[in-house]
Symmetry: C2
């Protein structure tokens, strides 16, 4: 399998974690978002949407990180990244959705560039925007994780799920933008638990081949 | 079951379609987003994130529209809203994710209000923003639907899936903001196919109890 990704893409980071948790090896195909590789005709042939990650499985191209991770979880069921019962799945997917739909899309590079180029938002305004959506999302998430009796070492129980796979890249991004995370003890504790695992830390942006060159 | 929703919320619209397709009846609990009902302490007790929809299933509260719809599809399997094979599921979830992660979150009310209040974006700039993200997403989606051999009467095959459930509310929103949809013949054709079904049209914002009063 081959991942089209970028070290700093949160969505590609999610996919790397999932591949590591499943023990799947992959080739890495760098799509440099800062250089605009994703907008090239050649990459549009792979993913017409021009986004990473994309996963090439013997010629079948899958897109959208959560769709790909659900696929991997079905085809390579161990270790499971979702609980077995429908209600548990809904709770895990709910946390994943909160992050993947309500925080991350507002903070990606294309959006920050639009704010700068079209709305003439200066750096301070862009950072305030970034932190605002992290705070909006994490305020709710912290309460949800605190209220759920299923919250354990990880977001749901004592093994990593899709919820943790979404949480970790979002926290790493929040750290990069110096968001105040002190008021989220539950999120912070789960983050530390995850990042202590090799499968998560190996997937960290700073541990990708292009990091030294592009950071 | 009880839906906490709002007629114009795309995410609540998705859930209404899914409930209708499954033939499930529900009570409607209006959360007036324009009036700020979602930010009230009483609603935060139901969904700490302060977002709609939320589904109350005998006291269990589910949040995040796609997580809820996947739950319903597991518990009430007929008619299926996802293909049976893993690759098909990934393609349908990929389309759903493109809309639910890459278009919709940028265009929701909270974001448009932030642009107005914090970034002093005037109406013209907010409309341009709205149309920009619809175009970015639909440009890719039109190509994906055109390239997929599985595209049929609906986004995937000849019966509605989660992809169509996401597509229809997004098109309705795009219409409301007068986005140019002429360049998306595939999207438009599938939208017409869907909206011709009672399950979709009954879920339309204009057919909700509060529409006459609040529109």
């Amino acid at each position: 399998m081959k991942i089209y990704g970028y070290f700093r893409s949160s969505a590609a980071f999610r996919l790397r974690i999932a591949m590591n948790l499943k023990g799947l090896s992959y080739d890495h195909n760098l799509i440099n978002l800062q250089a605009g590789d994703h907008l090239s005709d050649s990459f549009r042939l792979i993913n017409p949407q021009g986004r990473v990650p994309a996963l090439d499985i013997e010629g079948d191209i899958l897109t959208q990180s959560l769709a790909i991770i659900e696929y991997l979880d079905e085809v390579y069921p161990a270790p499971a990244l979702l609980p077995h019962d429908a209600l548990g799945k809904a709770k895990v997917r709910g946390v994943a959705g909160l992050i993947a739909c309500d925080i991350h899309p507002l903070n990606n590079l294309a959006v920050l560039n639009y704010l700068r180029d079209q709305l003439e938002a200066d750096e301070e305004a862009r950072i305030a925007w970034y932190r605002h959506w992290v705070k909006e999302g994490f305020d709710g998430l912290e309460k949800i994780l605190s209220a759920n009796v299923e919250t354990g070492k990880f977001c749901f129980g004592d093994s990593p799920t899709v919820a943790d796979i979404c949480l970790v890249p979002q926290v790493v991004n929040a750290q990069r933008f110096n968001c105040d995370l002190d008021c989220y003890p539950r999120i912070s504790r789960i983050f530390e638990e995850c990042i202590g695992l090799k499968e998560f830390s190996d997937a960290h942006p700073s541990n990708q081949p292009e990091a030294a060159q592009l950071a």
